[in-house]
Symmetry: C2
Subunit: 337 residues, 2 copies
DNA sequence: AATAAATGCTAAATCGAGTTATTTCTGGTA
DNA sequence: TACCAGAAATAACTCGATTTAGCATTTATT
């Protein structure tokens, strides 16, 4: 096992001080008036022996890690995985690495993860925040650490964030169903108070009440286990045979819903029409394909990482936080009349 | 911004030496004959002020980081995302964190990532290896670093790895099609020499030639861009109208294939039967659902992380590497007669 | 010629831990 | 009283970098 070279080894080999080596490698040669000749000699030698500074030591000294912490709800969910992927690419291109983890929307787990990230001197945070995490986020911000939220935001906390116009999206989708003549439109969503879900619910409510129809809302708890998710949905649909259209709150609910409808042998769109929040390969390929509210995944990822990189580069902590609200796209397919 | 406490602060507050604090916190109190009374006093104070050792400094000194490097081909692919998720869970439960990245199956990118992981003193590696990475992996192993590969292995390199029985899986699936009476069975795969793809191809070939049928193989290049993937497949199918069944080499090819077949208005299974390697929500939900060769995702993730944790815990570097070969499950659905 | 300024480089401190070698104290024994 | 063993704790070094403050030497200025 070849021992790794340190900056001292380099300095000794060249009979100069490690200070000089450090200055040269950090591009401060000119500023420190180190001769061209020596700079070249050092750079050449460093390249020759393939010396790479130990980044742990560097981080310890500088307090910077060139690492971005990414906390999504669930990396195995297509929506988050795709965004994570794009953030990762951009981060690498800008010299940052990613440490990621899934929060499961679990407050305590998220708190622990944030603590771990801090401990590792992560330079910036990208977080899909669960409920009850306000204080921890505020504390990060108070300490001057760049934080960008996405998918949802925390009403009490002033941060940069990137979300979509959830309320208008479901309002619009619901209107679409109403205009098609559906009368008993259900909304199936998760049982939580996060902004994205609350807004989606409100968009639906607004459209329904505006048209003097009756809302019909089913909120289910989130479980990893599929059975625990499909059962309450199935029970709900059995109980409400009058439903002629369903709006699902996200892709996970949508796929569960599709399975339930298949179990119940419901024809789409004859028996029941469908629209789902979030687009997903499944909705494109299933038969009939499902109309979906597509979030602009590329744009979300792009905005998130751009915001964060800006914060990281402008060491100035200008207090103005940016809120980005992107629009969605109703991709009409054959799951409605 | 509250300054973070260091071990020196703790020591000063208690009027003792930081050495003592360090010994106590690292469970070496008894060994170092430190009085019960002092141990308790220190632990109590540490808990009280919430002191956490700086893990960068710790890593620098000890050379251990408690981080596992995870390199998958593409984190946005469901197969890898799901496995990554489970590995992540197990790792956290055992006190390890994950740094992950997607390799894109790009050798150079992977080399850079491995270099970065090394640089960060990652304790162990889980890698889905691209072609041409043999030397880098060997070098890790030579230096005593635990490495576990999965999904495929590197024939020239002796490592721990976890794969499935690809050859038997496609052999079996192809036989299934043959037994159903299909005569012109095509195999659509990626154009690369990796073991998993080679074995899948060989399983198909073996079954076909055993039955005196003709092989019909299309190998396409991998592209992120969907058009570039579907076009050659579409051209191939147009050219070979005689094909009555298709075996896809993985889930990505399978979904591309489904899109092509939809474009071409082919009825499944009347015009053409399908089996796809890898199961995926899409195949379960599309209509008709697609028969798939399901990899045992849970078992793969479990074996991978178990192997690695074992290596990490038994500091003994016993030379015997473990090869785990798991079996797949043919999930028959209605995409064949 | 004496002094000031610019040039080129470096010794030593520092980040926050872990670890080695050593010191101090206590009590018992010769 | 002198000496020693073990108990209890610590000073000082180390990991590998960055950074501060400063030392020679050369060149320019008066």
């Amino acid at each position: 096992m070849k021992k790794k070279l340190s900056i001292v080894d380099i300095a000794n080999s060249l009979n100069i001080s490690k200070t000089t080596v450090s200055f040269i490698l950090n591009g401060r040669a000119r500023e420190k008036r180190i001769s061209e000749e020596l700079v070249e000699r050092v750079l050449k030698y460093v390249k020759e022996v393939g010396y790479k500074p130990n980044s742990l030591a560097k981080s310890l000294r500088t307090g910077k890690s060139n690492i971005i912490g990414l906390l999504v709800q669930d990396i195995s969910n297509n929506f988050f995985a795709t965004i994570a992927r794009q953030i990762e690419d951009r981060a690498y291109k800008n010299g940052y690495k990613i440490i990621y983890s899934s929060t499961d929307n679990d407050t305590q787990k998220t708190q622990e993860l944030i603590a771990m990230f801090r401990d590792r001197h992560v330079d910036g945070y990208i977080i899909v925040p669960p409920e009850g995490i306000e204080e921890d986020i505020s504390s990060l911000i108070k300490d001057g650490l760049p934080v960008v939220l996405f998918d949802r935001y925390l009403p009490g906390v002033e941060t940069d964030y990137v979300v979509v116009d959830n309320l208008f999206s479901t309002y619009n989708a619901t209107r679409y169903l109403i205009d098609k003549g559906y009368k008993n439109i259900a909304f199936i969503s998760f049982n939580n108070q996060q902004t994205q879900m609350a807004d989606r619910l409100n968009g639906y409510k607004k459209a329904i009440t505006q048209s003097n129809l009756k809302t019909n809302i089913k909120e289910v708890d989130f479980y990893q286990d599929e059975k625990l998710m499909t059962e309450p949905i199935q029970a709900f649909l059995n109980e409400h045979q009058e439903i002629d259209a369903i709006l699902f709150g996200n892709n996970h609910l949508g796929t569960c819903g599709l399975k339930v409808l298949r179990n119940l042998d419901k024809k789409i769109p004859e028996d029941v029409a469908l629209i789902c929040f979030d687009d997903y390969e499944v909705f494109e390929l299933c038969n009939p394909p499902v109309t979906a509210i597509a979030q602009p995944i590329d744009a979300i990822a792009d905005k998130v990482i751009t915001l964060l990189l800006n914060r990281l580069n402008t060491s100035v902590e200008n207090g103005v936080k940016q809120q980005v609200i992107l629009t969605t796209d109703l991709r009409v397919r054959k799951s409605t009349k």
